[in-house]
């Protein structure tokens, strides 16, 4: 534990507005299995942060636990000064946190437009339907198609586009590049850069180190349900072997 704390202290400090999203001692269970053993990390306003780690380390579970999608959880998740750990999932969603799940969660019984219009607007200042279609022109062409008939890339664009309309300013994206063609990955990366320039705060779960370095400010390494190390994007290059050791199988 002391080792972790030391590394964390050595890690680059979050920006001044680090009280945007503070996760402390977050634990979560699936039934009897204890998955998160005390996650500690901060996401500053306007930052893009990635959680890196091997399969099963607890990255996706962390996002779900923040969103309240896991019933059994403890610790604290302070978002803009308010602790979310006891809140019902639908209240968390209304506070301006938006979640894009790993499986994209496109509703098969809804068409593209219905999927886009589904999440209610929780704050003013969300993107309009036209802006979203502008960001992802493919979606406009498929706007009448059923949700089940989209390609993987289109589904991912829809999953991201869908939460931009709600006015949520903090996005939790779970592996947005998983299983996508490189050209689509570039498109997603471009979109994330655009969102950063617009001032969105993004917590990203990634396996793709290259992609993560390209878009994010800072990175947390997750192992066995804990944050074990942290790096800035600039420090990635100099710590390559160490990170390879963390992520290698």
């Amino acid at each position: 534990m002391t080792l972790v704390e030391t590394t964390l202290r050595q890690a680059p400090a979050a920006p001044a507005s680090s009280n945007h999203l503070c996760v402390r001692g977050l634990q979560a269970w699936y039934g009897e299995s204890h998955i998160l053993h005390g996650m500690d990390f901060d996401v500053g306003q306007g930052e893009i942060i990635t959680l890196l780690g091997r399969n099963g380390a607890g990255k996706s579970t962390t996002l779900k636990a923040i969103m309240g999608a896991i019933p059994r959880r403890s610790g604290s998740v302070v978002y803009q000064g308010a602790d979310l750990i006891r809140e019902a999932p639908y209240r968390i969603g209304r506070k301006g946190l938006a979640y894009c799940p790993e499986d994209r969660g496109i509703f098969a019984s809804l068409n593209v437009t219905e999927n886009l219009l589904l999440p209610p607007v929780v704050q003013a200042g969300g993107m309009s339907l036209e802006e979203i279609y502008g960001l992802f022109p493919n979606l406009f062409e498929r706007r009448g198609s059923g949700g089940a008939k989209l390609s993987g890339g289109e589904q991912q664009m829809l999953a991201i586009g869908r939460i931009l309309r709600t006015g949520a300013r903090t996005l939790l994206l779970d592996e947005p590049t998983e299983g996508l063609a490189p050209v689509i990955v570039q498109q997603i990366a471009a979109a994330i850069h655009l969102l950063k320039n617009k001032g969105f705060t993004i917590l990203l779960v990634e396996q793709n180190l290259g992609f993560a370095c390209g878009v994010a400010d800072r990175h947390y390494i997750v192992e066995y349900g804990r944050v074990v190390d942290a790096f800035t994007s600039d420090a990635i290059a100099s710590n390559k072997p160490k990170i390879q050791a963390y992520l290698g199988v």
Binding site: G31, G56, G68, A69, P89, G93, P101, G105, L110, L118
Partner: protein, 637 residues
């Protein structure tokens, strides 16, 4: 020409029935879509709608038109209360629990209304504006019936439009697919689920109000229609809203036509169609076959210890049973043993394979009829009569099993219920069964020409021997390699198929075995009581055996026996309570499902396992605890 107008008027009546079927199966489909609960209480809530209209008229002076709005509102609110207090806590469990819970609610509601208003139907007049008939040229169309059909079409169309074409409907469809994600978007899904249940229930109540002037208002009107609605739902498939509406109307018309061409068989028409659909398109006409998800009904209800493995306890119970008739009324004990065997047969299927049959009364009752017929009318000796009854039950089990194992979980439960209802209708209408009277004064006869069964003690030991044989067969089955395969099927059928097991063969074989043992119990019971009656084949009997298994502990060995003892004791010594016995049974169902899913014996066993940690568990160490098996199924995200 006269007969043609009869045909038309039967078809109009069929359309009216079809309207009710459509409204009921629509409400059921909406509820199932979001809650994953088969709302057994739907029939009772339909009945409540009719009663609400009746009470509003007679006590508040509010006529048909206000009742059309108020009755669904009142019943809908009662549904919301049920959802908040009870159903909400079951969503994480196997869907079967929701069905069992709402079955218990049905018993409570029907019992209360029967106590309050008696079994006879109460009249409800057609509103003045809708009396009379319209001459269509080829026939007279009663105005009220035309109104029911037209209003239903409008309501169904509006419901369909709301769900398929509006923003609210999009929430509903999305929440049906992935409720947690919809919550993450900031939508209060629990409230939506609650209101959806309320709306589905309100639709049932609306059907009840519309039915009130056509049929009489009676406490039984719901249970008569609910089994038919289940068949409609199996035919249409739960997948689509439109499917529920169309199949409701179509089956009503078909039933009406059957009434014209073959009146005796008209009640069977829908069930026959259900069988044909099961054979040709098991998912239903509009349904999609859902991926078979592993049932955890069996594993959730089984317990850690195995109380009966303790041989001292077994010997003590055996000794107790041998001397019991000298100090307990033997007829009572014989009833207990018959029903205990019935419950063991049922639990073999439900508790160990996860196939919850809602139609076991068919085997129990038909076997009782055959045995009684053989012993009384044909004059066969008791051993042959019992064998004949058992053989018939096994044969019916073979046919029903072959049909019903095409579906799983709640669908299996609905199919078995509908199939069993056919046996009920046959028993009601056939010549040899004696109709409402049943076959009475069945002679017990002389066993093997040696033992006169009119001697109570000889009869008792015969019953006890039969019970022991049946119990032994069940135990051997569960503990054999065959039983291990059944356990595998109950926990994950897809995996067993991938391992190369023809799971359908195993399920069918177990089904037949269970049916035969249920038949053995039914035949024996017919000789003990000297009576085979409609009670034995009625769905309430299927519910009663489920109750026994549930109270005792459905996944335990001794549970069904203890359950039978409790249920028979309550039924015998509290018989003076009349309709309240049903209410008590209903409450017991609710309590068992809500807080006591492992049953009395299951509870005792886990208590023993906790108190005597090391020594008693040493014997069962080789077998994995049920908890670990459940964990295996859960896919780690």
């Amino acid at each position: 020409m006269v007969s043609l107008s009869t045909l038309f008027s039967q078809m109009v009546l069929g359309l009216v029935n079809g309207s009710l079927y459509a409204l009921l199966s629509l409400g059921m489909a909406i509820i199932f879509g979001l809650l994953n609960v088969i709302n057994f209480a739907h029939g009772a809530q339909y009945m409540m709608g009719a009663f609400a209209a009746y009470l509003l008229l007679n006590y508040a002076g509010l006529g048909y038109w206000p009742a059309l709005v108020l009755a669904p509102l009142i019943v809908g609110v009662s549904g919301i209360v049920i959802e908040r207090l009870l159903l909400r806590h079951l969503y994480q469990l196997d869907h079967l629990y929701g069905m069992v819970l709402t079955f218990g609610l049905t018993l409570i509601l029907e019992g209360v209304f029967r106590f309050q208003f008696g079994s006879a139907g109460l009249p409800y007049a057609i509103p003045d504006a809708l009396t009379g008939a319209v001459n269509l040229g080829f026939m007279y169309m009663p105005t009220y019936r035309a109104w029911v059909v037209a209003a239903t079409i409008v309501i169904c169309a509006a419901t369909w439009f709301t769900i398929e074409k509006t923003h609210l409907g999009a929430y509903l469809r999305a929440a049906t697919e992935n409720p947690m994600l919809v919550q993450n978007f900031g939508i209060n899904v629990p409230r939506m689920v609650m209101l959806t249940y309320g709306c589905g229930v309100a639709l049932a109540a609306l059907a009840g109000v519309m039915a009130a002037p056509v049929y009489q208002v009676s406490p039984h009107m719901g249970s008569n229609i609910i089994v038919v609605v289940f068949a409609v739902v199996v035919i249409g498939g739960m997948g689509s809203i439109l499917g529920a509406i169309i199949s409701g109307f179509a089956l009503g018309v078909i039933e009406g036509m059957a009434k014209y061409f073959y009146p005796q068989g008209s009640v069977m028409a829908i069930f026959v169609i259900m069988i044909i659909v099961l054979l040709l398109k098991p998912a239903g006409l509009f349904g999609r076959i859902a991926a078979a998800h592993p049932s955890n009904f069996a594993s959730q209800s089984s317990s850690i210890g195995a109380l009966l493995t303790n041989r001292y306890l077994g010997a003590a119970l055996l000794l107790l049973a041998l001397v019991a008739p000298s100090f307990i009324y033997p007829l009572f004990l014989m009833k207990v043993f018959c029903l205990a065997l019935f419950a063991c047969a049922f639990a073999l299927l439900a508790g160990h394979v996860g196939m919850l049959s809602f139609g076991h009364a068919a085997f129990f009752g038909s076997s009782a009829y055959i045995c009684a017929y053989a012993a009384k009318t044909l004059g066969w000796p008791p051993e042959l009569s019992i064998l004949a009854g058992t053989a018939i039950a096994a044969l019916i089990g073979l046919v029903f099993g072959w049909l019903s194992i095409r579906r799983q979980g709640i669908y299996f439960a609905m199919v078995t219920l509908a199939l069993a209802q056919m046996i009920y209708f046959i028993a009601l209408q056939a010549d040899f069964t004696g109709g409402e009277d049943g076959i009475q004064a069945v002679p017990r006869g002389v066993l093997f020409g040696l033992f006169d069964l009119n001697d109570t003690y000889i009869m008792y030991y015969l019953v006890f021997a039969i019970f022991l044989i049946g119990f032994f067969i069940v135990q051997r089955t569960i503990r054999s390699p065959f039983g291990q395969i059944l356990k595998g099927i109950s926990q994950n059928e897809a995996r067993m198929i991938s391992l190369g097991y023809k799971t359908k063969h195993y399920k069918l074989l177990t089904f037949v075995l269970s049916a035969a043992l249920a038949g053995l119990a039914g035949s024996t019971k017919a000789l003990v009581i000297g009576l085979a009656s409609l009670t034995d084949v009625h769905w309430a009997m299927s519910g009663e055996v489920l109750l026994m298994a549930l109270i005792g502990g459905i996944g335990t060995m001794l549970g069904p026996v203890i359950g039978a003892l409790i249920v028979v004791t309550v039924a015998t010594y509290l018989a003076w309570l009349g309709a309240w016995v049903t209410v008590i049974q209903g409450i017991t169902f609710v309590v068992c499902v809500m807080v006591f899913r492992i049953g009395v014996v299951g509870g005792l066993e886990s208590l023993v396992a906790r108190l005597v940690p090391r020594r008693s568990q040493a014997g069962t160490l080789g077998a994995p605890a049920p908890g670990s098996a459940i964990r295996l199924e859960g896919e780690q995200p």
